[in-house]
């Protein structure tokens, strides 16, 4: 069973719908016991980084325990940003700090939020993005973004390069919305389901 963690950060029915379409057994939950029992975890999320506060209060330990035990984890949008140390959007709300660096707002030189389809440049060897070509278009909607780090497996250029996807061992994150990115997005979710 894949647990889709519901921590009050927006509408997550589309993630569940995409997993159902792929034939996966997915359950939307905010119950730490269900998270603990899941074989894989997806943490979606849109909106303000401060929403991660409720996640930190109730679900931080079970989610981090699951990650530590080697269960595949996928953070989407704010769910990926949470994997970093934090975000200037809500400095008082810590992230999981599994990846180094802090998320920050787009520079004033580009229109923000970044809404729509943009291209990713995929680094060779990504397991999550296996079968997704460089130059593929994915759907974004966000105002803050994560820096490019060693674990970055894809980046997008908008007001400079940012991390479109990160991965290390069993921990994966994507800033874009695979559940809204047509064929490329479904391929990514399919890869995750197959881990």
């Amino acid at each position: 069973m894949i647990a889709i963690v519901d921590y009050g950060a927006g509408n997550i029915s589309s993630v569940r719908k995409a997993l159902e379409h792929l034939g996966a057994d997915a359950r939307v939950t905010s119950d730490p016991l269900v998270v603990g029992a899941a074989l894989k975890i997806i943490m979606p999320g849109v909106g303000h980084f401060s929403r991660c506060q409720s996640l930190n209060e109730h679900l931080r330990a079970p989610v981090l325990d699951a990650i530590k035990s080697g269960k595949p984890f996928l953070g989407i949008c704010v769910g990926m940003q949470w994997l970093f140390a934090g975000s200037t959007e809500a400095p008082e709300t810590p992230g999981a700090a599994l990846f180094p660096g802090e998320c920050s707002r787009f520079p004033a030189s580009v229109k923000s939020p970044h809404v729509g389809w943009n291209q990713i440049e995929v680094r060779a060897g990504s397991r999550l993005l296996d079968g997704v070509p460089s130059g593929a278009f994915v759907y974004y909607t966000h105002s803050f973004r994560a820096p490019v780090i060693d674990e970055t497996t894809a980046c997008t250029n908008y007001g400079g390069a940012f991390s479109a996807a990160v991965e290390r061992d069993n921990v994966f994150g994507v800033q874009f919305h695979p559940e809204k990115s047509a064929g490329a997005g479904l391929k990514i979710l399919e890869n995750f389901c197959a881990f």
């Binding site: 509408n11 029915s13 809204k180 047509a182």
Partner: protein
């Protein structure tokens, strides 16, 4: 590194009355050309970057079908999906989100109760709230355009540019701007009005009303500075229409999601 160019979006709009798409549609290979679920999928497969379902049902009885229509249309749709028409409260919005919509478009209800924008944005995020503005020019000047509500029947006395700015401040994630002067004419988008609204807000502006040919899209993305363009009837001539349109736009140097 890919070039720094966010693709401009082509949005297909389905006008739905009591659960049926009402404009003349000539998609091939469809069992039922008036079914919103089939048409939404057909448009997405044909290359539309986003789908908008606009409920224009006049009767309360007919409206009851909306949530079920949304659920069926959303089921296998994996591009952004917006639902508008008759969403008056946070509860109305919550129902269509639960049925699978990614965004709601609010129009008259937002003008009557501007706090609704922040209520929906607060719960579902700004990215999930599109404020739709139906505008008609009062004089030759684009900045005189006035906001109309109730399907264009009622003037509000409000200026479109000011309302767009207020909507952004209140938490709207995008503006869907329909030119009533151009809507249904096929004479092209109101690029001057679109450009004026686009310059007055920092959120994306979706242009609507007047699309008649591919050149009109080139103009609204260049001169009109639109981030997305929405049309209904232009896509109803067959499944090749969106791909052909995108090819024309790419040749004109407009960034598009391709292949799609």
């Amino acid at each position: 590194m890919p070039s720094e160019r966010l693709a401009k979006r082509i949005i297909a709009c389905l006008d739905v009355d009591a659960g049926r798409v009402v404009k003349g549609v000539q998609f091939q290979h469809l069992r039922d050309a008036g079914d919103p679920a089939e048409l939404a999928l057909a448009h997405a497969s044909a290359g539309a970057d986003e789908i908008v379902l606009l409920d224009i049902t006049a009767t309360a009885e007919g409206r009851k079908t909306l949530v079920e229509t949304v659920r069926r249309a959303a089921k296998d749709l994996f591009v952004p999906f917006t639902v508008g028409g008759g969403i008056r409260t946070l509860e109305d919005a919550a129902k269509v989100f639960a049925a699978g919509a990614d965004k709601v478009s609010i129009n008259s209800a937002a003008v009557a109760n501007p706090g609704l924008i922040g209520e929906i944005a607060g719960r579902f995020g700004s990215q999930a709230v599109i404020v739709a503005i139906d505008a008609r020019r009062r004089t030759e000047q684009a900045d005189t355009a006035e906001v109309f509500v109730s399907g264009g029947r009622t003037a509000t006395g409000r200026k479109a540019l000011e309302w767009a700015r207020e909507a952004e401040e209140r938490g709207a994630g995008e503006i869907l701007l329909t030119s009533m002067d151009r809507d249904g004419t096929g004479a092209g988008f109101d690029c001057e009005l679109t450009s004026a609204v686009s310059a007055s807000v920092s959120i994306p502006v979706i242009a609507s009303g007047g699309a008649g040919n591919a050149q009109h899209f080139v103009e609204v993305f260049s001169v009109g500075r639109a981030d997305a363009a929405l049309a209904a009837s232009i896509f109803h001539f067959g499944t090749q229409a969106v791909a052909d349109l995108k090819q024309t736009l790419l040749r004109a140097g407009i960034p598009m999601r391709w292949p799609c």
